[in-house]
Structures are given as structure tokens and as C-alpha cells.
Amino acid sequence: MEYKFKTPLSESDARTLRINDIVYLTGTIYTARDQAHKRILEIISRGDILPIDFRGMAIYHCGPIVKKINDEWIVVAAGPTTSTRMELYEYDVIRTLGVRMVIGKGGMGLRTAEACKAYGAVYAEFTGGAAVLAAQSIRRVKGVEWLDLGVPEALWILEVENFGPLTVVIDSYGANIHENVNKKAYEKMSSILK
């Protein structure tokens, strides 16, 4: 199935989605990589307030190429980064922030899948490396936080229009495309690897 959604997403939006579904997102998304995830959880554990509200939002594993023209940030290229590096943090991020969609590439682990199930979220992928295509659907940079982490690791607040195609890879029912593909791959190779 193909869906067009606007952020913020509701729990029932997230629970509608199943693996292999295609989603196009319009609204606001936030980029966050390792360092930003780490900082988010540090701030929360101190009981401090985050600079932005993540409720119902989509987190995008991405470190963009940007340039500044007349004081305005322009995103040149913004494909996803490998998501497994965020596995360490994502369960708590979904749990405490109420994020409904995590976007990246390469798949995520069991803990993230657990959080998707328990709190109503999905993990979706944008084609890795398709960075210019992704940048095309970014209407503007609404803001940026934590530039002290460096441009790639900062928290970019992006306004997007029909950002996709995003393939739902982990849904809120425990299904995971990579897990299925991986299992079959090992089975197929088992006779050669013996």
C-alpha cells in the first residue's frame, strides 16, 4: 500500500503501516545521528528540556551537506546514514519522546523493533545514497540546533514535501524485512559455507 502522511503522526497512523508499505511524508522532520541521539538522552536524564518537541515526529538518520547563502541554510544532499549506529539509543528515544517514525537505511535491531511494537512507531528506509533526490523534497531549513556537534551531527529541522518513497522496514507488529531477507540469505548459502 502507498500512503501520504503529514507530521505529526498519530499512533493510529503508525499502526496502520505494515512492512513493504510505501510512505511519502509532508511536514517537519528532524535529523539526528549518533551524537544528537546521545545528547537527547543525556538532556532527558538530567530532567532538562529539549530545544524541540518530538511528539509524533519523524527522526531522520542523516548528516546533510549544507551551504549558507545570504544567511539561509540550503540542503544540497541529504541521504540517510546507516541506522544500526543509533540502535543503542533508539528504544529510549521512541519511548520518552513519542517519535512515530524513524527513517534511515540498512535496518535496525531488536530493541528498536520492540519499541515500535510497544509504543506505536515504525522504522522506514529511504534509498541509501539517493541524497540529491532526498534534498529535492526538502522545502526549507526551519532551524538547526547543536551545531557545536559539527554540521553532519547537528539537529537539522527540515520542512519536507512528499519526502519518499520511504519503505516501511520494521512495523509495529514485529515484522522486519531485513530479518526475513537475511534469514533466507543464510539458508541459501548454508550448503556452500559448510
Binding site: T82, E125, G129, A131, L133, G150, A185
Partner: protein
């Protein structure tokens, strides 16, 4: 013979970095098109369509094909009598800085202890330069901007000579299974066998520079490249690891003689955004940028 203006070398370096990060080599583009035609599932086709659309778009608006423009690595083959040998390193560093702000590239160089990003893709040993001194008076420069996604799944193992080539094949297959969707498949797999721990990995990296339509000149190795190409595509890992017929675009193997007691094997990956570009600077300052 007069000295070459350092600016010439610097500008050539900027030009090949620019060419590499924006335009994929023809052999890679052709392989991706063939892959698209061969896929049957919707998910796999959608991934390759996004890739091909992205490649075209990048060319038309002259933007880097992927946001991860990598750690900049140069392979330098310099003639012993090239009249500008002492400018090469400085030119490459300056070119990397300029390319970072002008193209632009993403600043990717981070100090491992302080985690501070240098902001211009330079730093301790970075851009990295592989040196090779040859006869003559010309300079060949090759740049390979290689992203972190494909770098993070590179593998190395010391096999024992008793494991033999059969053991090497198994290690390569296991490396691809473990890498799964992480290096943005379809990938190019570069294999380095023999030498020592360092040598095998450098050979694996160099193997990634060989165009996809060129097999190893040694028939036994060319055969193994084809065999592994077919086996790895049987895994069904597919584009982005979401399932499909194309997991690898090619397998390139290089080797060095090994020590009697060891059989080192290195497996390096290049993502579908397999970027490379070269140029030659002649002794008189004229230069030529390579087609791919």
C-alpha cells in the same frame, strides 16, 4: 626542465574530486541500469529507480551524488623526474580544503580523541595519500572519495594456509552476509589476498578502483571473480538489503605473494555510489582528466 606551477596540480586535484563526487563512472552507471532491468520485485525496482533518478539529478544540478563524500583518499603515481614532486602533498591538502567549501563536500574528518570535526576534511594523515614512485616525468592522480557506510563493513582475517582458496571464498561470502544492507548494496566487493595484514587491505582497496568491465588478467582469478559474483547475487540480499537479485555489481580480486605461514584476506566494499576519478599531469604542465 622548469618547475610546474603548484596551482596546476592543485586545480587538477579539485577537478577530479569534483568529477568523482558528482559523476559516477560509466561502468558503474551501466551496471546499475542492467541491475534495474534484471530486478523483478517492486521493492528492489523502487530502490534502483531511486538510485538511477538520483544519479541523473546529481549530474543535472551538479551536486554530489551522495551526501557522504567520505574521507578523501588519493592514489599517487609519480614519475621520479616529475618537476613538482615536492608540491604534490601540499596541493592535495589545499585542493581538499577548497573542494570542501566550493563543491561543497561534507566535512567528515573528526579527531578520534576530542571528537572535534576539523571542518575542512583535513587532519592528521587526512587526506590520505598512497604513494607510488615510477619511472618518467608525469604524475597520475586518482581520488577515491569513499563513504563511511561501505567502510564500516570492511573485513580482515588471517586465515591459515590450510584453509586455502576455499576458505578465502567462504570468508568473502560471510563478509557479504554480515554486511547485509549496510554498505548500500548493490556493492562492488574488493578482495586483497596475501602480502600481510596491511598489504592485503591496501590491495582490497585498490581492487575497488578497477572498472567493472575488467576482469583479472589471470584466468584462474578471473574465474573466481565470476564465480563469487554469481554466488553473492544468489544470496537475495538485493538492493539496500531489502531483497532482490542484485547484491553485488562486481567482485575484483588482487593478490600478493603470501608468507609461508599465513594467508591474510581483506574484503573491502564500495557502495553503489562507487566514486573515482583520475588525471595525468605531464612534465610540461599539460594535464588530462580521465573519462572514468
Amino acid at each position: 626542465m622548469g618547475m610546474i606551477d603548484p596551482k596546476v596540480i592543485e586545480n587538477v586535484c579539485i577537478e577530479i574530486i569534483r568529477k568523482a563526487v558528482i559523476y559516477l563512472p560509466d561502468d558503474v552507471k551501466n551496471a546499475l541500469k542492467t541491475a534495474y532491468d534484471n530486478e523483478v520485485s517492486d521493492v528492489a525496482k523502487a530502490q534502483l529507480k531511486a538510485i538511477l533518478d538520483n544519479v541523473k539529478l546529481a549530474e543535472s544540478i551538479e551536486a554530489p551524488v551522495c551526501q557522504d563524500t567520505g574521507i578523501i583518499t588519493f592514489f599517487v603515481e609519480v614519475g621520479a623526474s616529475f618537476p613538482g614532486i615536492n608540491y604534490i602533498e601540499k596541493s592535495i591538502i589545499n585542493a581538499t580544503r577548497t573542494a570542501t567549501s566550493k563543491i561543497p563536500l561534507r566535512p567528515n574528518a573528526v579527531h578520534p580523541f576530542t571528537n572535534k570535526n576539523s571542518g575542512d576534511n583535513t587532519g592528521h594523515f587526512i587526506p590520505y595519500i598512497h604513494w607510488n614512485i615510477v619511472d618518467g616525468d608525469s604524475l597520475k592522480l586518482t581520488v577515491m572519495p569513499k563513504g563511511g557506510g561501505s567502510e564500516n563493513v570492511c573485513k580482515f582475517k588471517m586465515l591459515t594456509p590450510a584453509d586455502g582458496i576455499d576458505g578465502v571464498k567462504k570468508f568473502i561470502i560471510n563478509s557479504v552476509l554480515e554486511a547485509n544492507g549496510m554498505p548500500c548494496p548493490p556493492t562492488i566487493v574488493g578482495v586483497g589476498i596475501g602480502g600481510g595484514a596491511d598489504i592485503s587491505m591496501v590491495l582490497a582497496k585498490k581492487a575497488l578502483l578497477r572498472p567493472l568491465n575488467k576482469r583479472s588478467p589471470e584466468s584462474q582469478i578471473a574465474k573466481m571473480e565470476m564465480e563469487l559474483y554469481n554466488i553473492l547475487n544468489e544470496t537475495g540480499i538485493g538492493p539496500m538489503g531489502l531483497g532482490g537479485r542484485t547484491t553485488v555489481l562486481g567482485v575484483n580480486i588482487e593478490y600478493a605473494h603470501r608468507h609461508i605461514a599465513s594467508l591474510p584476506v581483506a574484503v573491502a566494499f564500495n557502495c553503489w555510489a562507487a566514486r573515482r576519478a583520475s588525471a595525468v599531469v605531464y612534465g610540461d604542465g599539460a594535464y588530462k582528466v580521465y573519462g572514468d
